[in-house]
């Protein structure tokens, strides 16, 4: 496993995995990288280098877990990134999936894609609810906890002392399962009266989205939650 490091050219990073483009956007990066390295660009754009490397490496290498690199990163930075990803999902990825699905339905005679569409909309409902739950409950809790930790607040207010991140951050299993089912229903059981390019477009979007969502869930479960549990242990034993 060859990790990207501070001397990697930003251009080379994109060449080795174009799916990282939206990830770069979440850091506010735009194209036109010239010969600049990751370090040079991070300095210019005032991006935390270690955090950037941890995120792109975790995305590119599935078995890489940057827990140690992220110990020093503030929860706020992680949550910023997660929030931008949420926005990406809701405003970019999902509309793209829906447009592709609509197109597929429109160009077909039979009715069974309507059922798939219905299935997708129940999936979406659950997914959006999961995101809202994080935005409204989990993230504010983490930010308040980090603040209390930084300011050495003692004793902790009730709203922090009586809860734990495990009360907020829900299991990602259910949401993942539906996305997986959706792919399989299309790949295995679709009747062949669709237009190839429509279906491919839909599946490309779905695969890309799945990968993004899995990466996102990994950052939440392995990085954010792990970090918060440590802060909690420290604060609540004090």
């Amino acid at each position: 496993m060859e990790l990207f490091d501070k001397n990697t050219k930003m251009t080379a990073l994109v060449h080795s995995n174009h799916l990282l483009l939206p990830v770069l956007n979440r850091f506010g990066l735009r194209l036109g990288f010239q010969e600049k390295t990751v370090e040079e660009i991070c300095t210019e754009e005032q991006i935390d280098l270690n955090f950037f490397l941890a995120i792109v490496n975790a995305y590119h290498h599935h078995d890489y877990s940057p827990e140690n690199e992220l110990k020093s990163i503030s929860a706020k930075l992680i949550i910023d990134y997660l929030r931008k990803s949420h926005l990406d999902f809701l405003k970019v990825s999902m509309p793209k999936i829906e447009a592709a699905l609509d197109k597929m339905v429109k160009n077909r005679k039979s009715n069974d894609l309507k059922i798939i569409q219905k299935f997708y909309s129940t999936y979406k409902e659950e997914f959006v609810e999961h995101i809202q739950d994080e935005e409204e409950h989990a993230f504010p809790y983490v930010l308040a906890l980090q603040k209390a930790h930084d300011q050495k607040t003692n004793p902790l207010p009730k709203s922090l002392a009586e809860y734990s991140i495990s009360d907020y951050e829900k299991d990602h299993g259910d949401v993942d399962v539906k996305l997986f089912d959706l792919k399989n229903l299309i790949i295995k059981y679709l009747k062949p009266d669709y237009r190839d390019q429509d279906c491919n477009e839909f599946l490309y979007e779905l695969f890309h989205f799945e990968r993004d969502v899995q990466d996102h869930a990994r950052i939440e479960d392995q990085i954010l939650v792990t970090k918060v549990l440590e802060i909690e242990k420290e604060l609540k034993n004090a």
């Binding site: 069974d112 309507k114 059922i115 798939i116 219905k118 299935f119 129940t122 259910d174 399962v177 539906k178 997986f180 089912d181 959706l182 399989n184 229903l185 295995k188 059981y189 679709l190 009747k191």
Partner: protein, 200 residues
Amino acid sequence: MHSHILVIHPSEIVLQGLHCIIKSVFDIEPVLLKTLDSLTNHVDANKSQLLVLADESLDQKELSNITLAFPKTLRTKIIHIRQLAEPSCDKSCKCCLPLNASRSRISELIRPILAEGSRPMEKRRLSELTERETDVVRLVALGKTNKEIAKELYISIHTVISHRKNITEKLGIKSISGLTVYAILNNLIDTNSIDPESLI
């Protein structure tokens, strides 16, 4: 294991010899028979493949009649055990086993057959649900609980759960609403009497 092996030969020495070799090379316990009489009783219909090693002196017509009556899902392969290699059979022959064959020749002969048996049949079996599994999918799609399904099909809850596990493995679909979509797409539900979208 997807295959099972039967050895039919009047000689105890041959039976025990092949048993010993097959057991040590493939870790399969072959069933040993001296005659064709009880052959049918030893066929395991749950396996996908049956390999019969049969002495050439047995009634070949009777043997083929017996094997023709086996379930269609069971792929049957017969190898003849011969006193001497037939002049027309060279080392690459895949249906004869001369008694003077070496241990490595025996495993060379059997190995590809076992490998073949475990692959294509498994695929075929995975691609379709059994009748019972289909019943279970239909009821799951209609929103029934495991308990209700057990009652309706006169089976135990435990059996319902194991059917559901097999269904999920075969179809690659885990969620209840995913299974419902599968049932609708495959016409397992009468969509004239029920609005399919209301089920998902």
